[in-house]
Amino acid sequence: MSDRAVSPNSAYAEQSEAAFIKRLVDRDMQAFECLYEDYRKKLSYFIANMVNKPQLVEEVFNDTMMVVWQKIGDFAGASKLSTWIFAIAYRKAIRARSKIDEPISNDTYIHSIEDNDTEDTLEKSRLRQILNKAMETLSYEHRAVINLTYYEGLHYRDIAAIMECPIDTVKTRMFHARRQLKKSLGGNIADWL
């Protein structure tokens, strides 16, 4: 199962989260570089699904990490550090979206990892394309809830914290997102089973 958001393989996993946060509060630049490089990977997919212009993705990421630097002293540890950072990124991405005039398309930025060693690559590749297109038809809120659940592997409680909405709203969004995804996939979903 995906554990990207709470990866135990993080560069700073050897120490407790509290100890690591203390280093950040103490302006330990090496610790922050660790965090920066770690979240550059962790946030890339999530942000790219919200805003699809490379320079905007970079802007949202850097804005997010700047807020982390500025506000880490206020972080009370009520949630996991990763939840807090994702919540900042979500807010920054929404703000960045509001500044874009054109509709956002994900064709260029998001893609599927292709494996070339199986016989059904062509068929799989076709299905992936259909799914990627179907993802694009979702609203950014529905896409976010799908990604946070399936890509980041997060609990609905953490997703509610990130999206700053009630838990029931997360479940409802997920319900509608799945329904719409299946509608866009049409009969193709049967081919997968």
Binding site: S2, R27, Y36, V57, F61, H111, R128, G153, I189
Partner: protein, 233 residues
């Protein structure tokens, strides 16, 4: 044909399926969902569909964010220079209201060193900076030679950098912390580096260097960890 969910299945149970698939449910919910899908072929089918979708989602990826730590680090240092005590950061509007964004040194407020009757704000900064170095470095060093003189104190107001083309370049610099004072002095003298202020909480100094010395030269120095021009905002 499948039955409508609302007819036969508890919508609450059905809405938990995604987190059942990702193994995120608590024991209580897990048992409920498991119990239901054991008896409900429709929901069992939904579980299989969601598993498939989850795998396809996990196979998606995005390009790596094109970002540069060195450049970003400079922004962090700039922020700390402008907000020496980040735990009591002013709001943007408050900062804009004040005529000069004076660099303050939180460490100094805790020290019992008083400066007598300063004439100008610029002098306060000079004296404070000097006091700061006096605390951090031993008093019998000539590191003070490298602190820019009072005429240069324009650099202490971040909002009023009026550097003319021929003037020296304003830079944020971090040195190897293991340097002795003598080594630091030699480094400063050899490279004609003048300390304007610092260190900040991140151990960064605001310095001036002659404009015939390139950033590359400074950066290639093994004891200079960071040399970044201060961006005019």
């Amino acid at each position: 044909m499948t039955k409508s969910l609302s007819d036969l299945c508890d919508i609450h149970i059905e809405s938990l399926i995604p987190w059942y698939v990702t193994n995120q449910l608590c024991e209580d919910e897990l048992v409920k969902v498991q119990h239901h899908i054991d008896d409900c072929a429709d929901c069992a089918k939904i579980v299989e569909e969601e598993r498939k979708i989850a795998i396809f989602i996990q196979e998606r990826e995005a390009n790596k964010i094109p970002s540069d730590w060195k450049i970003f680090q400079q922004q962090l240092l700039n922020f700390d220079l402008e907000h020496p005590n980040p735990m009591t950061v002013q709001s943007d509007s408050e900062i804009k209201k004040s005529p000069h964004n004076i660099i303050r040194f939180p460490i100094l407020r805790k020290t019992k060193i008083f400066i007598s009757k300063p004439k100008t704000l610029g002098f306060i900064i000079t004296a404070q900076a000097a006091a700061l170095f006096a605390i951090i470095l031993t008093p019998d060093t000539n590191v003070f030679n490298n602190i820019a003189n009072e005429d240069d104190q324009i650099y202490n107001t971040l909002s009023s950098d009026q550097t003319e083309p021929n003037q020296n370049i304003n830079i944020v610099m971090q040195f190897d912390p293991s340097l002795t004072i003598e080594e630091l002095n030699t480094l400063l003298n050899n490279n004609k580096i003048k300390i304007i202020s610092g260190p900040t909480s991140t151990n960064a100094y605001r310095v001036k260097v002659p404009n015939d010395i390139t950033l590359e030269t400074l950066r290639s120095h093994e004891n200079i960890l960071i040399a970044e021009p201060i961006s005019a905002e």
